[in-house]
């Protein structure tokens, strides 16, 4: 016989958490429902019903526990499904059907659950709506858990200690949280995926490679098989031959090296060749992004988009909901600063719970501070929560889309009101919490010399500022080529804002995408910016770019560039000059993976 095996499979899916792992498969067991009916006596049936009720109690305890853990681990929004599971478990019609089946058919609890499971499966199978059809998995999940709990079983500890690759049809958030927290998961491969992104989020934050959407990987492998899971390219290889293993081992090494490089960069000093210090911070949306951002070298959270607290729910968050998020942020980042931007909702980022009408021109409509100053009570809830979370003195308050001085005055009045309220209740907060404004409307930029006297800092939102200033929607393909951050008009405007801030001695930072682009970031450095905030994955490359230049030289180059007439001339000149003096500055370090 020919010994050469070529029968290994490569299965494509979606890589949702980067990295590569090789290891043994652990299929998460599906409950096999009993298919044998054994008749029992009437007396026994009473006992069976009691056994089932006990199993139900155990199941309830487990679900409550999972709900709590998932809630604290990945947010209450995700734990909601377990509330549904609890309700299904306690559903009167479910229990009475089970009782009836046991007592009338004189059968075991196992058989009764199997029967009911079949019955509901049939009902759900007949549903044509795909989304509602999927709900059968909720009922199935509850019944499986109940079934498993009929016999209290201890997990085989020895098995669980070995590092394995989890292969499952779909991983419930509860399973995912439990298993990943145990810390012996090499990788994850799922049939389903995409929609259940909590598993992906969790995997990413714990550095566990994951590929989802593999359709039928559970049918193709069995326990004990060996797999390569390539979370970077979204591929799974079943029983790879040695050559393929080697290939992937070298790929894994490359990835690990890249990761180490990033970590090295993170530890390097943030200063230019001529010793000018700069600071790189992270733009984030979830509190659990803080730690990964810091590990990439972020020196604080330069922009926390607080509207994401609203996007994750269907009702309005209350003060405690806000407070929990802000406290966690402050705690995880301390002593580094966290700039919390009050909600930037409205326009295209509309929310039904806020009852904002659809507008013909959302970018110019009711959004951000305009919404907050209209729904003042809602705004005060947010201000109170931010203040209460500020006890560690590392929170900064940032107001978006300021257009005129009056808005700053109104915010200050409201802030004063909220502060007095808290003081009267003896609630502690940072009385000197810095108040800053986003400079993202050209009108604000034009009066930034006046505004600088009224606030503690500026944060320049270059995306919106440029969009409004150049009248270009960069998401509109027909005009996006006109979106030019290095347009001389933009540089003049930026120069004016920065000068206004410096004149009053207040801090000024940039949190738009200009910060994340090496060339633009260098131009900003030349204009006098020392604080940059960006998507954390770009921090290493910007750090490298800024570290490889002499600030003095860049300032000179930019000063000269500002005398040119067009964006094109400016860009050409700056690139040429920078490369001449600092050949490595614009090396776009590859960001090979989405993290």
């Amino acid at each position: 016989m020919n010994n050469i095996k070529v029968d290994y499979f490569r299965v494509r899916g979606a890589g949702v958490s980067p990295g590569i792992a090789y290891g043994e498969v652990l299929l998460t067991e599906k409950v096999v429902f009993s298919s044998k009916k054994e008749s029992i006596t009437k007396n026994r049936s009473v006992k069976e019903w009691e056994r089932l009720q006990k199993a139900s109690e155990r199941t309830q305890k487990q679900l409550e526990q999972i709900k709590k853990e998932v809630g604290s681990l990945i947010g209450e929004d995700h734990s909601f499904i377990f509330e549904a599971h609890l309700m299904i478990l306690k559903d009167k019609s479910l229990l009475s059907e089970l009782e009836k089946t046991i007592k009338h058919d004189l059968c075991s609890a196992e058989w009764a659950i199997s029967q009911i499971h079949d019955r509901y499966n049939k009902i759900f199978e007949s549903i044509t709506d795909e989304y509602l059809k999927q709900r059968k998995s909720d009922v199935s999940d509850v019944l499986s858990r109940l079934y498993r709990n009929l016999k209290p079983q201890k997990r085989k500890k020895t098995d669980d200690k070995k590092d394995r690759i989890i292969v499952a049809h779909d991983l419930l958030p509860s399973e995912a949280a439990f298993r990943m927290n145990q810390g012996n998961i090499l990788a994850i491969a799922l049939d389903m995926g995409g929609a259940t992104s909590h598993t992906a989020i969790l995997a990413r934050s714990l550095n566990i490679p994951a590929v989802v959407g593999l359709r039928n990987i559970t049918k193709k492998v069995k326990n004990g098989d060996y797999l390569i899971v390539d979370g970077s390219d979204g591929e799974v290889i079943i029983d790879p031959p040695l050559a393929v293993q080697r290939e992937f081992a070298s790929k894994r090494d490359k990835y690990e090296n890249y990761r180490k490089e990033l970590q090295k960069t993170a530890k390097l000093k943030a200063s230019t060749l001529d010793g000018v210090k700069f600071s790189l911070m992270a733009n984030i949306e979830l509190s659990k992004e803080v730690k990964p951002a810091l590990s990439l070298g972020a020196k604080g959270i330069g922009l926390f988009r607080s509207e994401f607290i609203y996007f994750q729910r269907t009702d309005l968050p209350d003060e405690e909901d806000h407070f929990k998020v802000y406290s966690k942020l402050a705690e995880d980042a301390a002593p580094l600063p966290v700039y919390i931007r009050t909600v930037d909702i409205g326009g295209e980022k509309s929310l039904p719970q806020m009852k904002i009408e659809k507008e013909p021109n959302p970018a110019l409509g009711l959004r951000a501070i305009r919404v907050s100053l209209r729904d003042r009570e809602m705004f005060k809830v947010q201000l109170r929560a931010i203040l209460r979370a500020s006890v560690q003195r590392n929170i900064r308050l940032l107001i978006p889309m300021i257009t005129e001085m009056e808005e700053i005055e109104e915010v200050k009045l409201l802030l004063k009101e909220v502060k007095e309220e808290l003081q009267s209740k003896n609630i502690l907060f940072d009385e000197n919490i810095p108040l800053g404004v986003m400079i993202e409307v050209p009108a604000a930029a034009a009066v930034s010399d006046k505004m600088a006297k009224e606030v503690d800092y500026f944060s320049i939102g270059t995306n919106d500022l440029i969009q409004y200033y150049l009248a270009v929607d960069r998401t509109n393909e027909l005009v996006s080529h006109l979106f030019k951050p290095l347009h001389p008009s933009v540089l003049r405007l930026l120069k004016f804002i920065i000068k206004s801030a410096h004149k009053e001695g207040i801090e000024v930072s940039v949190c738009g995408e200009m910060s994340a682009d090496p060339l633009s970031a260098l131009v900003l450095l030349g204009l006098g910016i020392r604080k940059f905030s960006m998507n954390p994955i770009f921090i290493p490359r910007i750090k490298r770019a800024l570290r490889s230049v002499e600030c003095q030289n860049i300032e000179k180059i930019v000063r000269k560039a500002m005398t040119f007439k067009t964006a094109h001339e400016i860009e050409e000149y700056v690139i040429e000059k920078i490369l001449f003096k600092h050949p490595t500055a614009l090396l776009m370090q590859e960001v090979p993976l989405i993290m």
């Binding site: 909601f80 499904i81 509330e83 549904a84 309700m87 299904i88 559903d91 009167k92 019609s93 479910l94 509901y120 009902i123 759900f124 549903i127 044509t128 709506d129 989304y131 509602l132 709900r135 909720d138 009922v139 269907t314 009702d315 929310l351 039904p352 719970q353």
Partner: protein, 89 residues
């Protein structure tokens, strides 16, 4: 007993989250609540029943409420359904 026919308006229909909201609300009232769709009648206080109704967007369901607080119960349940269970779409 009062009866009212209502159209489900939210995009996802009576899915788990919406069903939980509906059932939780129904359970706050003393009155009995049944929901009928295409001849199937289920207990409006049972989440399982509500899920099996498979009420998708645009389907018409009939609420039947009997008891002392039937008026206010109907009013609240109707408001929840018409408000798309506080969902986006």
């Amino acid at each position: 007993m009062i009866t009212k026919e209502i159209t489900v308006k939210n995009k996802l229909g009576l899915h788990a989250r919406a069903a939980v909201k509906l059932v939780n609300l129904a359970n706050r009232f003393e009155s009995s609540v049944t929901i009928e769709k295409d001849g199937n009648i289920i207990d409006g206080k049972s989440v399982l029943g509500t899920l099996t109704l498979a009420a998708t967007k645009g389907s018409s369901i009939t609420l039947r409420i009997t008891g002392k607080d039937e008026e206010i119960a109907l009013e609240s349940l109707e408001a929840l359904i018409n408000d798309k269970f506080h969902e986006d779409e």
